[in-house]
Each structure stands twice: as structure tokens, then as C-alpha cells.
């Protein structure tokens, strides 16, 4: 109850920040960072949904992201679809693939899912480079047209500047995040959490975890796919580097830092982790070293995110006063 209240206020505050941001920093550079931040917020949430709520570590989110991007781009360029149905189709295709690999691997184990999710991203990368008749190979598809919205009676709006695109990506991101929020708050979402917290207990009560996990994977793939389409139509090009391993590492950090299973925590972490490297401008090699160390430190000491830190300190103080009992990590 309290959590959902925090999350509603936190979400509203973040939205307000996003709106104010665009007026305070109107340069295309700042708006570009804002668009990237909105993209990462959705991408990190998609991992949060699978990992934080579904309990499954996934290396597939970037794969879904790229699949949605490529699907939308190919539909628009080759078959003349308009952007909106194409982006939706990208999300749906990603969701179908997600459910398929989830079904195939989860019959064995959660570890198999992790490995298959990584392999899937790598296959998609390979296909993007080598299925040249469809994907145009390594050069990708440049010159993607700007999405438009035409309302009858008004002249059509074209999203072809950083300012207009900022509003497009903000709107889509908020819609996708609200969708996730709604599912998490529903009965299915509570069931996901129950399974994650105590799988044997859930199973003993006759709950089959598989459909709930497939729901988490499918929805996370859908939002990643749609935001992938939004992302590349801003760049105006999609190419195989969209499957960059770096994105996987970055969203993993965001989720761990924000706290798996914390909706607003992950959003905040995504925003901070898009803006911070831009401000610090540290070299990528050093960044990768820092990210690696951060991953290790978080997984070792704060598996539930930074938000847990104050609680941990309080508990530690209590525990040490009552004898040096070691606490169990969640």
C-alpha cells in the first residue's frame, strides 16, 4: 500500500522533472540526452519487470529492443507502413519471441533462461549483420522518415526536431511505464512477486510459476521492442550496433542500483545513469571498469539496491547490539 503511494508520487515527480527539464534546457543536445534517458527508463524497467518482479535474469532485453527497432524500420521502409503500427508490430514480435524462448528454456531451469537469453541477443545481432536482404547487413537502414500524427481537420504534426521528438518519446515512455505499473499492481503482478519471494511455497499452493513468468517476459519484451522503434526513428538509422553489449551492462547497473522490484527506484537510477556519464565524460574503458566494480559491489553488499542502504544500517545497528548474528541476504 505504502509502496504504491511512494511509487505514484515518485512517478509524478519524475514526470514533472521531465516536463520542466525541456523548458530549462531547450538545446538539442540536452533534449537528446532527455530522449536517451526516457529510452533507458523504459529499457531498465523492462529488465526490472523480468528480473525484479519475475525473478529471471535476462540478457535478452537489448535483443528485444533491437528486434523492435529493426521490425519497425523494415516495415516502414519496405512496406510503407506508418510509424505507429510498425512500432506496435515491433513490440508484438519481440513479445512473441520472448514467450517462445522463455517457454523453451524455463522447462529446464532459470540458468538455461539466462544463457538462452544471451544467445538470442547474439543470434539477432548475427542476423542483423548477415541477413542482408532483409536488414541491409552491417550498414543498417539509414534515412528513416520522421513519424507523423495527423488529426482530421488539423495539419499533420511531424516529429522531426529534437523538441518535438522529446515529447513523442516522453509520451510513449510514460504510456509504456503506466502499462507496466498497471500489470504489476494487478493480481498477476502480486502473483509474480509471491513466486519470486518464495517459489517452493507458491508451487506448494498449486501455483504454476510458468504462465506468470511468461507474462513478465512477454510484457517486458513488448515495451523494449516499442521503445527500440522510438529510439531508432529519432536517430534516423538502425544498424547492428543496437545490440551492443554495453546497453545490457548499463541497464543491469540501473536495475541493481535502483533496487530490483522497485519501480520508481529503477526509473530514478536510469535517469541518473544516463545523465551522469554525460556530465562526467569519462572514457569508456574506465567506465566499463567502474561499472564492473559497481556490479560486483552491488551484488555483494546491496543486492536490493541503494534504497536499502539506510534500512540495512539501522538493522545492522540493532543486530550488533543483540549479538553478532549474521543477517540473510534477500
Amino acid at each position: 500500500m505504502q509502496d504504491s503511494l511512494v511509487s505514484a508520487w515518485g512517478g509524478a515527480a519524475l514526470l514533472l522533472i521531465a516536463i520542466v527539464f525541456s523548458f530549462v534546457f531547450p538545446s538539442p543536445y540536452a533534449l537528446g540526452i532527455g530522449i536517451t534517458a526516457a529510452t533507458f527508463a523504459v529499457l531498465a524497467t523492462s529488465l526490472n519487470l523480468v528480473f525484479g518482479y519475475g525473478g529471471l535474469l535476462s540478457f535478452a532485453q537489448v535483443g528485444f529492443f533491437g528486434l523492435g527497432a529493426y521490425t519497425a524500420a523494415i516495415l516502414v521502409v519496405d512496406t510503407g507502413w506508418s510509424f505507429w503500427p510498425a512500432a506496435l508490430a515491433g513490440g508484438v514480435l519481440a513479445a512473441l519471441l520472448g514467450v517462445f524462448i522463455g517457454f523453451a528454456s524455463l522447462r529446464l531451469s532459470r540458468i538455461a533462461f539466462v544463457i538462452v537469453s544471451l544467445a538470442m541477443t547474439l543470434i539477432l545481432h548475427l542476423l542483423a549483420k548477415d541477413l542482408a536482404f532483409l536488414t541491409r547487413g552491417p550498414a543498417g537502414l539509414p534515412g528513416l522518415p520522421a513519424p507523423t500524427v495527423s488529426i482530421p481537420g488539423l495539419s499533420p504534426v511531424e516529429f522531426d526536431t529534437p523538441r518535438t521528438y522529446y515529447w513523442l518519446s516522453l509520451t510513449v515512455s510514460v504510456a509504456l511505464l503506466l502499462l507496466v505499473r498497471w500489470v504489476i499492481g494487478s493480481g498477476a503482478g502480486r502473483m509474480m512477486m509471491a513466486i519470486r519471494l518464495d517459489e517452493p511455497l507458491a508451487k506448494a499452493q498449486g501455483i504454476d510459476p510458468l504462465p506468470y513468468r511468461l507474462l513478465a517476459i512477454g510484457l517486458s519484451a513488448f515495451i523494449a521492442g516499442v521503445i527500440g522503434a522510438v529510439h531508432v526513428f529519432n536517430l534516423t538509422i538502425v544498424d547492428p550496433s543496437i545490440f551492443d553489449m554495453y546497453y545490457t551492462e548499463a541497464i543491469l547497473i540501473m536495475v541493481l542500483l535502483g533496487g530490483p522490484g522497485s519501480f520508481v527506484g529503477v526509473l530514478a537510477a536510469a535517469l541518473i545513469f544516463t545523465v551522469l556519464p554525460e556530465l562526467l565524460r569519462i572514457s569508456v574503458d574506465a567506465r566499463s571498469l567502474i561499472y564492473g566494480l559497481l556490479l560486483i559491489a552491488l551484488a555483494l553488499f546491496l543486492p536490493n539496491g541503494i534504497a536499502e542502504l539506510p534500512r540495512r544500517i539501522a538493522r545492522r545497528a540493532r543486530v550488533s547490539s543483540d549479538g553478532d548474528r549474521r543477517e540473510a541476504d534477500g
Binding site: I101, A104, R107, I111, V114, K129, E249, D329
Partner: protein
Amino acid sequence: MDPILLLQQLANGLVMGSIYAMIAVGLALIFGVLDIVNFAHGELYMIGAMATWFVAERIGLGYLQSIPVTTLIGLVLGYAVYRLVRDTGGSIERAIILTTGLAMVLQSSAMLLWSATPREVHFPAATGLFELGPVVMPRVRAIAFVAAAGCIALLYVFLHHTHLGRTIRAVAQNPRAAAMVGINAHAAIRLAVITGVVLAVLAGTLLAPMYAVHPVMGLGFLVKAFAIVIIGGMGSLLGAAVVAIGLGSFESLSSLWLSAVAAEAITFVLMIAILLVRPQGLFGRSARL
């Protein structure tokens, strides 16, 4: 099809397979005792190769002299990996995150320390070609094949015919029962993890004279090793070894008809197909978790 070409590709495949096996068996061993997938395995192999270059070429000790040094590095790294993953409280996801972090640290450190420039390791005693009837291969590959096969044979003898090795197998099969009969599970796990890591590092040392050595050479093998371990049945050493040899031969023979890229895609598709029809893998124990 030219039979000599066929034979030649089969020989190439066996060499490749033995190298895959050396990397995959270590991965399977660590998985067997801890149920942990070591995502840093490919980078450990890379560190083995780069350390070999550093000791043999930069310091100038020579290739053979570098082997004891890299073995020592393997032992130290093995202990570090063990310390890192031993207390994950059964959370496979946490273990994967930890080893992913370790992989990033190893790779970026190698990049910062030695730059991305490809390096060369010389092994003067192994230049020239080795001929066996119509089949020809560089001597350095023949040596790598013998060494890799030797390492795997040694591992087999160790696991099956020594007391320490048997404790590892006991822990892998049933940690609780092993503890009940008085086996120190921690020691067995530590030994298994260190062995797996040393195998990866030594594979790097072994391959260093064959390949250009650079910080991103690890990834290519890691994913193949995963596929091998999944197809072979997770945690099955025999499965890993057999599938590795099979994969090496398949890649090599299929290259006569298919592009290398297609062969790679087929490997992945095969992995997912096997999960669908036979989730425990070809040689696996029944499904767990």
C-alpha cells in the same frame, strides 16, 4: 567431394574441438559443484593468453618459461573467483551478476593496461608443419591438441581415481549426502572452482602462440562454451567434452558447404532446439532447480 579435403577438415575439427573442450569442461566443472555459470570464463581465457604474452614477450622470459607463471596466475584468479561466488546463498542470478562484473573488470583492465593492439606470442620450437599422411597442420596446433587432450585426461584421472577428485564428484552429485559422510564440501568446491579457472587460463596460454592476442578475444569462445555446456547437459563433464569435439568437427566439416556465419547460427538454433526436445541436454542429469 575430395576425400583428402574431408580428412583435413576433420583433423582441423578435432583440434578445435579439443580446445573447446578444455574451456567448456572447466565451465561445466564449476557449474557441477556450485550450480553457477561463470560468465567470466572467456575473460579468464583472455587473461591467460595476455599474461602469456606479457611474460613471454614483454618481459622476455620465453614461451615455455611463461607456463609456470600463468599457472600461478590461474591459481590466484581461481581463488578470487571462489571467494567471489561462494556466498551467493544459492542465488544463481547473483552469481551471474558477480561473474559478469568480474568479466567487465578483467576486460577493461586488460584494455587499460595493454591497449587493444593485437600482440604476437612466439614459440620458435613449434614452427613449421606437422604431416600425418595426407593430413597437414601447423606444428603448434598439433602440440595444442596433444596438450589439451592431456589436460582433459589428467582431469579425468584426477576426478575418478584420486580421493580429492572423488570428493568433488560426491559434492557435485549430492552436497548434503557428501557432508553427511564427512566430506568437507567447502574444500571440495574451492578445489573444483580453482581447477576450472586454471583450465581456462591454461587454455589461453596454450592458444597464445596460435592466435593474435588481444583483450576482446574472450567473447568468441565464451558463447560457444555456453552452447556446448547446454547441449551436453549442464554440469556433465563427459557431455561437455563429447559435444565440444562434435561441435569442432561440425563447424569444420560444415564449412565445406556452409558459410562460417551460417554454421554459427546453426549452433545456436541447435542449442534452443535441444532445450525444447531434451531439456536435460544430451548427457545431462534430469532437470534441476
